[in-house]
């Protein structure tokens, strides 16, 4: 796969024609993993070979609450090895408590650390920290949860009902935007920032809205109603947004829903429960872990027809114990599924091709959950 070498500063809303096809295909994935966008102020050095390849996979491990063991695992394609505690080894200190999201945007790797209330920023290639941005309201932690890059900024939604806007060059918070209660999902799509307001800390009085933020005016422009306790939200590239509404962990189950950009709830998928998903092209890969049966499932949904097309993505019998995260590498098309195993120790990541056959797997830290793909240009290994 090749891309133009000077594709750098493009906002998703104003694309040159020749890149449209690529962007249309990759856009949702970029938003999801933010893995192949350059940051505006740091032009990439000229290189002769313009082949984009996957050099490695970062896996952010949540760790365990109050144990300061959020961790970063780096899988290196050049020697097919995984290094757990990658961040610690590079920086001589830990990430902190409870990793809750990660993305690569431009040359930087962003890691949201929920309980430590920090946004850790590292060089995407070397893993060396470039800065740590505390997210506090006075002395009170804001508890950042999820991140979405857009333009010159990354947008981080916080459990204290705010979205922090962080300048990617200055690495500081420049704005705070009010959202709904306990936002727990964010994505940039269709020129807007979409924030799912979970109200998850107010059990049993959950929130059930999605806030729409205009990234030009830094303000909430509308708020739409979805299912209760909404979580992950991602665009499908066809003018819709897919989201998980987690329900109340009781009689209201966790479902996959589809809304349009006007806020109409287009579809709620019945017949299966869903904890997370990723969108790649016209396909959404949806996983669930059923506590009662102890079984993990990965389903395939066609985003054009909005239909469940395959109840069993994994074709070779690979057994995922506790599906805990999913992502698709836009460059290789591989689907990665994180397995938390017993929640308290080493986790595992499985890599599948599009046909659902296992290609490789590697060990991670505790509770692997979020992925960022390190893409480089040139000849692999240089």
């Amino acid at each position: 796969m090749t891309v133009n070498k000077d594709r750098c500063y493009i906002k998703p809303v104003a694309l040159p024609c020749r890149q449209l096809w690529l962007t249309a295909m990759l856009f949702p994935l970029m938003m999801l993993h933010s893995s192949c966008r350059k940051e505006p102020d740091q032009p990439r050095p000229q290189e002769n070979d313009t082949t984009v390849y996957s050099a490695g996979i970062y896996v952010l491990n949540e760790g365990l609450f109050n144990q300061n063991n959020a961790g970063l695992t780096f899988y290196n394609f050049s020697d097919s090895t995984a290094e757990t505690d990658y961040f610690f080894n590079k920086n001589g200190r830990g990430l902190g408590d409870t990793g809750s999201d990660a993305c690569i945007y431009g040359s930087k790797l962003y890691m949201v650390v929920n309980i430590s209330s920090q946004l850790e920023v590292a060089d995407a290639v070397s893993g060396v920290s470039l800065g740590r941005i505390p997210l506090f309201d006075g002395s009170k932690p804001r508890q950042p949860r999820k991140i979405a890059p857009y333009g010159k900024y990354v947008f981080v939604c916080n459990f204290d009902n705010t979205v922090a806007v962080i300048d990617t060059a200055r690495l500081e918070v420049v704005r705070l935007i009010e959202a709904g209660r306990n936002p727990d999902g964010i994505t940039a799509a269709y020129g807007k920032i979409w924030v799912s307001n979970s109200g998850g800390l107010a059990f049993p009085d959950y929130d059930n809205t999605v806030s729409v933020i205009d990234p030009e005016t830094f303000s909430e422009v509308s708020r739409f109603t979805v299912g209760i306790n909404p979580y992950t939200i991602r665009p499908d590239g066809h003018g819709h947004l897919y989201l998980i509404s987690r329900g109340n962990y009781g009689d209201v189950k966790s479902h996959l829903q589809v809304m349009d950009t006007l806020g109409n709830l287009v579809k709620t998928f019945g017949g299966f429960e869903a904890l997370g998903f990723t969108v790649a092209g016209d396909t959404a890969y949806v996983y669930n872990y059923d506590w009662n049966s102890g079984k993990s499932t990965v389903l395939v949904v066609n985003t054009l027809s909005m239909q469940l097309v395959d109840e069993q993505f994994i074709k070779d019998g690979t057994d995922i114990l506790v599906a805990y995260g999913i992502a698709c590498d836009p460059v290789t098309g591989m689907i990665y599924i994180a397995d938390a195993l017993n929640f308290t120790g080493t986790g595992r990541v499985y890599a599948f091709d599009k046909t659902g056959k296992l290609q490789f797997s590697f060990n991670t830290g505790i509770n692997p959950s979020y992925f960022a793909f390190l893409h480089r240009t040139g000849i692999p290994g240089n």
């Binding site: 609450f65 001589g92 830990g94 408590d97 430590s116 506090f136 009170k140 800390l201």
Partner: protein, 662 residues
């Protein structure tokens, strides 16, 4: 209905025995302090189950303010301690969960139906004459059925005033030290008649808890910070009335009050030291005890009520626009009748029945539950000079209101107990002992009903304990006494209640899925020597090794691993040296490495620690007056250590106290 009738008949039978047994008590009840102490020793030596105690001088030598600090010197005990005077403290005995250990003060139970074990930091040490721990909790003397129900029992005995020829005795003092500790105390006992007295003690405690700790975050991230929000203000006050209405009968009435307001210092979170949660306790308890003893029949009646109010405040909770403010109220009513009857020269039979009613209400509960328990214990004991044996059963019928169906809400269990001891030599005195006990613990109300976590379908967690050991004592010279015990133990826990995550890591649920098998060894060596009339020396050593394996699931990767927070090895040593009115104490505690979760990997390892406390005291007597001035250093070598992961313990601190007894 039929069951209810049976239960009533059984209780009536016991009450009738009580009513017909008002006869003169033998002189054994009139033992003075000294004699009680020597009786204790012999009980320890004869005991067919493991028994440890600290009394008098030894309690005074313990560094710390609460019962928890004394208990951690015992073998087989793992203390959970979140650090500082305000940190919550509970103990696990021989790797069984804290809920398996019962707590009694002067024979009256202290419970916490919400969490399963009361915070042992609540009980000030200064008021106590003896702290003891019985594994198995047998014994032929009358005691409430509940004291036979736990896998092990902590007994706290408060100081009984020695009036001598005076009408009023008292004690006043003050203690102060590092981390903002300020603790005045006061006690007054007054004779109200020939055979009755009334006493009051008041013990306020203030602690800032602002000790330094190390944030251990690699070569680039480590730093030393001050613990925040670790302050405690508490007041413990007790009122006691004692009377001997007849030669054979003793009556005690007790009222206790405990009030505390504290910060919860929170786990050490990298880059985020903020903590603001508060905990407030208001406890009140009333107790009534009637004891009588004659040649053949001894009886003990206990009745009481306790009220415990708890408020948990999190002003920074992000779930609402206002604070998280949860309030809980629990009450307990109990009535217990126990009796022992001698059957010939060598046999005795003990019978006890308890009624207990627990009620609970709390804003985070799905329901306002209550629990009614009826316990009936019967023990047959045989004792000769060379042998001792006890066999007993405990029958329990427990009704929980908050359960889903009538099948689940009634628990009935029969738990057997058996012990034997044989003397095999006289000089040195050697005894072999063996004990088997089955016990269970009910799910605590938090486990059943607490918000998302609670699971009302839980059933009891059962424990079987097997102990076999040898006890010896030897006096090589006059004034020197050596006592040694070595025990091997084996425990098996079925249906262990463990929390596991459900929908995600923040939604946990309690499940009966654990199985634990424990094997261990316990050693204790006590040596006392009175070198001459002026100087004396005593050494107490305790060592435990235990392998507590998670055997829940053969296919699990954690099968056979050591269960969380149980160290393989613990060791404690107390050295005391006295010369005239001076005494010098030096205590050492060792906790071996352990893991914070069932996966025994380096990331889950907590390193072992050694800490030492030292103190020097001057204790002169002048007629009826006694003075005591003590200076001590806690954590003498300023070790950084944790008991619970992410909760650092205090470094070196100084404590100075002065007391005057009149």
């Amino acid at each position: 209905m039929r069951r209810n009738v049976t239960v009533t008949v059984l209780l009536l039978a016991v009450l009738i025995i009580r009513a017909t047994a008002q006869e003169p008590v033998s002189d054994t009840l009139l033992l003075k302090g000294v004699e009680i102490a020597s009786e204790k020793i012999s009980r320890k030596e004869l005991s067919s189950f493991p028994m440890q105690s600290l009394s008098g001088n030894q309690i005074a030598a313990v560094a710390g303010n609460s019962v928890a600090d004394a208990l951690r010197t015992f073998s087989g005990v793992t203390l959970r301690d979140y650090g500082g005077a305000g940190g919550l403290k509970t103990v696990m005995v021989r790797s069984l969960g804290a809920q398996h250990t019962g707590v009694f003060i002067d024979g009256a139970p202290v419970s916490d139906i919400a969490s399963g074990q009361p915070d042992l930091g609540k009980f000030p040490l200064g008021n106590l004459e003896e702290v003891s721990l019985n594994v198995g909790g047998g014994g032929s003397e009358p005691m409430p059925a509940r004291a036979r129900a736990g896998a092990s029992i902590i007994n706290l005995r408060s100081i009984r005033p020695d009036f001598g020829k005076y009408k009023t005795r008292g004690n006043i003092g003050i203690k102060g030290g590092s981390f903002g500790l300020f603790n005045p105390f006061f006690r007054l006992d007054h004779k109200t008649g020939q055979d009755s007295w009334i006493g009051i003690d008041v013990n306020p405690l203030f602690s800032k808890g602002d000790y330094s700790y190390l944030v251990d975050n690699g070569p680039a991230g480590s730093e030393t910070l001050k613990r925040g929000n670790g302050d405690l203000t508490s007041l413990s006050a007790n009122l006691r009335f004692f009377a001997r209405p007849g030669d054979s009968t003793e009556l005690r009435v007790f009222a206790g009050f405990y009030n505390a307001e504290r910060g919860l210092p929170g786990a050490v979170v990298f880059y985020n030291p903020h903590a603001s949660q508060r905990l407030t306790n208001k406890d009140l308890s009333l107790g009534f005890q009637l004891m009588s003893e004659k040649k053949r029949v001894s009886l003990l009646t206990n009745a009481g009520w306790s009220y415990a109010w708890l408020r948990y405040l999190d002003p920074d909770y992000l779930g609402y626009t206002y604070s998280l403010d949860n309030r809980y109220l629990q009450q307990e009513f109990y009535l217990s009748q126990a009796g022992t009857i001698a059957l010939g020269r060598h046999f005795s039979a003990s019978l006890a029945s308890d009624f207990i009613l627990n009620t609970f209400s709390g804003s985070q509960y799905k329901t306002d539950p209550w629990r009614g328990s009826f316990l009936l214990s019967a023990i047959l004991a045989h004792q000769t000079r060379n042998t001792g044996a006890e066999a007993g059963i405990l029958a329990s019928v427990i009704k929980d209101s908050g359960k889903n169906s009538s099948e689940e809400d009634l628990t009935h269990k029969v738990s057997p107990y058996f012990s034997v001891s044989v003397r095999i030599a006289d000089v040195p005195s050697l005894r072999l002992r063996m004990m088997y006990k089955h016990s269970f613990r009910m799910p605590a109300f938090n486990e059943l009903y607490y918000a998302l976590v609670g699971n009302p379908r839980l059933f009891p967690e059962s424990a079987q304990q097997l102990n076999t050991g040898i006890l010896g004592s030897y006096a090589p010279f006059k004034g020197v006494l050596l006592r040694l015990s070595a025990d091997a133990f084996f425990n098996r826990v079925h249906n262990k209640i463990v929390a596991i995550p459900t929908q995600n890591l923040f939604v946990w649920s309690m499940q009966n899925i654990g199985e634990v098998s424990t094997g261990g060894l316990d050693f204790q060596l006590d040596a006392t020597a009175a070198m001459n009339r002026r100087s004396r020396i005593s050494v107490n050593l305790a060592y435990t090794f235990q392998k507590a394996s998670d055997i829940s699931d053969k296919n699990s990767s954690v099968y056979g691993n050591q269960i969380p927070y149980i160290p393989y090895e613990t060791f404690s040593a107390m050295f005391q040296f006295g010369y005239r009115a001076f005494s010098l104490d030096y205590n050492v505690l060792f906790n071996g490495y352990r893991y914070v979760s069932a996966e025994n990997i380096p990331q889950n390892l907590l390193p072992s620690w050694w800490i030492s406390d030292a103190g020097v005291a001057w204790n002169p007597e002048a007629g009826r007056y006694k003075y005591r001035i003590k200076a001590g250093v806690t954590n003498l070598f300023d070790k950084d250590y944790v008991v619970i992961r992410s909760f650092p313990m205090p470094g070196r601190g100084i404590v100075v106290s002065g007391a005057f007894t009149f």
